[in-house]
Symmetry: C2
Subunit: 317 residues, 2 copies
């Protein structure tokens, strides 16, 4: 069966087709790309929201509370959760997942975990494509939940429209510092678990950090999934950010920036694949041996390899 | 003045030249590459040790304690610390840095912080090249200290010979899970701050996680920079790993794998640079607009761009 008919069924909201399509795009291969191509004209209607932050800050429980709030407002919600699964640690976050899955009986909600196994580009691509499946299937809000502070995470966070950074009251200064890259791209910051002590101190620390940065600081909120406090205000703030985006062509401008970042990532991954194919394993092994034995430095060897890949001298710039 | 004469002075151990060379390689530009090329034949004598782990686990104080231990053993030590400096968080780790710098009066020690600003490839390249400067300058042990759990960090960690993963007694399960990628490449694991409560529980948790993984688990140690407990044993374990590496051609085999990873990174970065130059900003803007307006899907657009970069159809594979 072709990508097109699966795409049609996804667009019609067929839940078995959605499940199937999510499995297809996770593989990131040629059929995945064809399916995304078929779905692509029907994407762009959902509000893409990223919830990001370190492990243990309570992102999953906060998302569960937001889902309940959005459902009360008759909004449909899809969630793509990027799960740091490893042979060593499989299921560490299962408790939170299960809490989100209580919404599974509700046809206005879809929750999907993706494995983080595979290449960096693979993670960002699979996440974005899974969000596209849910967007094309008609979910009005699509949430991407990411964990961590690496380059991958920044790539995923930059692929959404509204970045919500979740902090916990009890995080130390060091951990805060690590998330600086995320702090800088956050559209909203929320201290979760706001029922715990330390919330006001965390808010004050964040406020101080944000005032050191240039430009208008993002809104700073607190919310507790345990008590429900602040969850409706967070949902309002997410809506308000979309309204702000929608004015003055900002949403289109950001869409172009996101498209450009995605094209650069696809170019990078594909060029590397082509390069490794053209060079072949024996040439790469030989080149690696030259460097390892210190007969030639890596920059010189890389330059030679590049010339071989491009099959002609690069124009002087 | 040319790279060669600076290289000669670095190799002779001239401290002003070393400082200058470290600044040059941090820029990662053409003079940096030329300098690394000139130093390259004199590298490979140092034992490259990575100390990695999350923020706040006490890596810097542990390195300071290791430096003192190595100096007692008459070994010279260079340190490259990758500092997550941000306009928002500058100096968050300054206390630890200062503690390391007490060794600065000692000519057998060199400590250098690198900024993490810039591209992912930039960080790994600058770190590795700074380690090469210290290696060429004759430091017997070169330590690379990295923070965090992202793709960058894995890249840096994979560029050393002995990966020491530092954990703290008080880290939760979630944070452990996030570091799974590092756990899998660790040659040694040490619970630092072992004077604090929770050390034995952390050791037990780590032991359990390691036994779930295939293969021989890495040695598991505990150390306290505060009391000095375990620091000599850690230095011994690092030496023992080098001895193990040096047998049966393992060190050469790993050097080839590291060289190959570096060549792939250099290929990737350079191909992207060539591609963006060949395509030009107007073409990229136009392509991004096509995707943003959903006239063409990103995979199709990326394929067209690739063909334009390569100037001819790619052979069917």
């Amino acid at each position: 069966m072709g990508g097109a008919s699966l795409a049609d069924r996804v667009i019609a909201g067929d839940r078995r087709a959605i499940a199937r399509a999510l499995s297809v795009v996770e593989r990131g291969d040629e059929p995945a790309r064809a399916l995304v191509g078929a779905l692509f004209p029907r994407t762009g209607r959902a509000h893409l929201v990223g919830l990001t932050g370190a492990g243990g800050v309570g992102k999953s429980t906060l998302i569960a509370a937001l889902i309940a709030e959005w459902r009360r407002r008759d909004r449909t919600v899809g969630v793509v959760a990027v799960d740091p699964t490893s042979a060593l640690t499989g299921g560490a976050l299962l408790g939170d997942r299960v809490r989100m899955e209580e919404h599974h009986a509700d046809r206005g909600v879809w929750v999907r975990s993706l494995a983080t196994r595979g290449a960096a580009g693979g993670l960002a691509g699979a996440t974005l494509d899974a969000a596209r499946v849910l967007d094309a299937a008609g979910f009005e809000i699509v949430v991407v939940e990411t964990i961590g502070v690496g380059q991958d995470e920044l790539e995923v966070a930059r692929a959404v429209e509204t970045v919500v950074l979740v902090e916990a009251p009890n995080l130390g200064d060091d951990v805060q510092a690590l998330k600086a890259g995320l702090l800088e791209i956050a559209d909203l910051i929320v201290v979760g678990k706001a029922d715990l002590p330390g919330t006001d101190r965390a808010l004050a620390t964040l406020r101080a950090m944000l005032h050191l940065a240039p430009g208008q600081p993002p809104p700073l909120l607190k919310a507790s999934a345990a008590t429900g406090q602040g969850v409706a205000a967070l949902a309002d703030a997410i809506d308000a950010h979309l309204a702000w985006l929608s004015a003055d062509g900002r949403r289109e401008q950001r869409a172009r920036a996101r498209a450009r970042a995605e094209l650069e990532r696809l170019l990078r991954d594909e060029l590397v694949r082509v390069a490794l194919t053209r060079l072949g394993a024996p040439n790469l092994d030989q080149a690696s041996a030259l460097v390892a034995s210190r007969q030639q430095d890596p920059y010189l060897v890389a330059r030679d390899l590049i010339q071989r890949v491009l099959h002609r001298p690069e124009p002087r710039t």
